[in-house]
């Protein structure tokens, strides 16, 4: 279980997180929605330690993440980045097997390649792409490779940063279905940030709405449509008028 308590973060005069309180239960898929620039990525990166909060605590299974042993902590996570963040200089299979070829989880090269090919197959990519470089792949294929890399070491917790951004609706649907299948199959805890409502409905068990640095609403995805919160209603229906300023 991941617990965020009164987490704040500012960049100069820009107060991005203003006291975020949120609990992500174990083996549940939490989707955080909110407009662009509302701090969703900062929140996600704060949990991973890529951004240091100004105040508040973030706990994983009751332990403050700042006090956790860094490698052991990160070994529990997998992450799919918005743009894939594949390493240009490495072949596709080396990207997928990156964690398996270094550090505590190190495996022999042949075994790491075999696992990488299996994970690529799991996300619908054949062995013919394994020896290509990321620049030779389409955006959708890069996302799938990023997903394969995120699950390669079978992490307990997987983060997805805008998993469908930049994809056509069909490919977005494929990625959403893959994420849902993999999270259920692995029994992983998932945290996704997105503003794509089709992703929310496909991936989420729970939904949290982040606006102006605080969580405005959180609850099961089944209750989202009937939620009385005006922020949530404006966001999920994409209305230009409401409490959220359309021009920021």
């Amino acid at each position: 279980m991941i617990t965020l308590s009164d987490v704040t973060k500012s960049f100069g005069n820009n107060h991005v997180l203003r006291g975020v309180n949120l609990t992500i239960p174990t083996a549940k898929s939490m989707v955080i929605i909110g407009g662009s620039g509302t701090g969703k990525s900062v929140l996600l990166k704060s949990v991973l330690g890529l951004v240091t909060p100004d105040s508040g605590t973030i706990a994983l299974d009751g332990q403050d993440v700042r006090r956790a042993e860094r490698d052991a902590f990160l070994a529990r996570f997998g992450m799919l980045f918005q743009g894939g963040a594949l390493f240009d200089s490495l072949r596709v299979w080396e990207n997928v097997a990156f964690r398996l070829m270094r550090g505590a989880a190190r495996r022999p090269k042949d075994e790491a390649r075999a696992i990488a090919l299996e994970k690529l197959r799991r996300v619908g990519l054949g062995p013919q792409v394994a020896d290509l470089y990321p620049a030779e792949l389409s955006g959708g294929m890069q996302k799938r490779v990023g997903l394969a890399r995120a699950i390669a070491a079978e992490p307990e917790i997987i983060f997805f940063d805008e998993p469908t951004t930049g994809l056509d609706p069909i490919m977005a649907g494929v990625i959403n279905d893959l994420i849902r299948e993999i999270v259920v199959e692995m029994g992983a805890t998932a945290m996704t940030i997105t503003h794509d409502m089709s992703s929310v409905r496909a991936i989420a068990d729970e939904v949290a709405m982040l606006h102006e640095g605080t969580i405005k609403w959180t609850g099961p995805v089944a209750e989202m449509d009937d939620c009385p919160d005006p922020y949530v209603q404006q966001f999920i229906h994409g209305r230009a008028t409401g409490p959220i300023n359309a021009i920021r």
């Binding site: 991973l48 963040a85 594949l86 964690r99 270094r102 550090g103």
Partner: protein, 270 residues
């Protein structure tokens, strides 16, 4: 405590002083950040893990691939130096010093400095652009989430490779530069080939070569460190990467020239 006076009340002088003060503080803060970055790099260098494969790739990239540009620079510089010394020496009948001055000038000064500057142009820009692009495309964050320290994986191999490879480049450049002088001396200035080479060898001391190689190591460290520093601290987008690349080359070039003066003071005036 009373508030600081508004510099505008002091007129142009106040505004100028404020501007100078801000620039000075900014420059000092930058120097401090680079020093901390260098200390962190050295700290990671002596602690495992060490990524040998990345180190090997960087030795090839920085050392081997820079050889053509450093070699050509040295060849033409050695040739031009021979012509200049011959022309200048002719004013007081000292044309015979061409071989020794070309050799000393190349190994002590021009080999390391021009080699360092060419490597700065080629390598500092390449490192800053590569790491800057990795930063803006979140590849550096991805490394961290994959339990790999970016300082160890990206910075240490590059800095160590440059520190070891640039002296070798300088040594090769020295030899090519001397050969450039010999070629011009023999073909254009009517020197006897054997005499030219004998004069070159007789007048060179081990420390002449050694000091140039030490300078090369220092310049290699500076080039890779500043390339990595500016790349890892790149701003967002294409403009941020472009600015980081430019800053890396400018800072590395200026620091090479400053370090060259300081090292020359240390090596040859005591």
């Amino acid at each position: 405590m009373s508030a600081a006076p508004d510099p505008r009340s002091l007129g142009h002088l106040g505004l100028a002083l404020r501007s100078i003060g801000r620039s000075t503080l900014g420059a000092l803060a930058s120097i401090g950040r680079v020093v901390l970055f260098a200390a962190a790099t050295l700290g990671h260098l002596v602690r495992p893990p060490f990524y040998w494969r990345e180190f090997g790739a960087q030795v090839l990239q920085i050392g081997w691939c820079s050889l053509p540009v450093v070699g050509l620079t040295a060849l033409f510089t050695g040739g031009a130096l021979a012509l200049q010394i011959y022309s200048g020496g002719a004013r007081f009948n000292a044309e015979a010093v061409v071989p020794s001055i070309v050799a000393i000038g190349m190994v002590r000064e021009l080999g390391p400095v021009l080699g360092g500057l060419m490597v700065a142009a080629r390598v500092a820009s390449s490192i800053a652009a590569e790491l800057g692009t990795m930063k803006v495309t979140e590849q550096i964050d991805a490394l961290t989430t994959l339990s790999t320290n970016p300082m160890k994986y990206l910075v240490v191999p590059r800095v160590l490779a440059a520190t070891l490879a640039v002296p070798v480049l300088v040594g090769v450049g020295d030899a090519i530069g001397i050969m450039g002088g010999w070629l011009v001396g023999v073909t254009r200035l009517d020197f006897n080939s054997v005499t030219y080479l004998k004069n070159t060898i007789d007048f060179l001391e081990v420390w002449d070569v050694g000091s140039g190689l030490v300078k090369g190591a220092a310049f290699g460290f500076i080039v890779a460190l500043l390339g990595c520093y500016h790349g890892m601290n790149s701003g967002r987008g294409a403009q941020g990467v472009g600015k980081a690349t430019k800053s890396a080359v400018v800072a590395a070039s200026v620091l090479i020239l400053a370090a060259n003066y300081l090292l020359t003071e240390v090596f040859f005036t005591s």
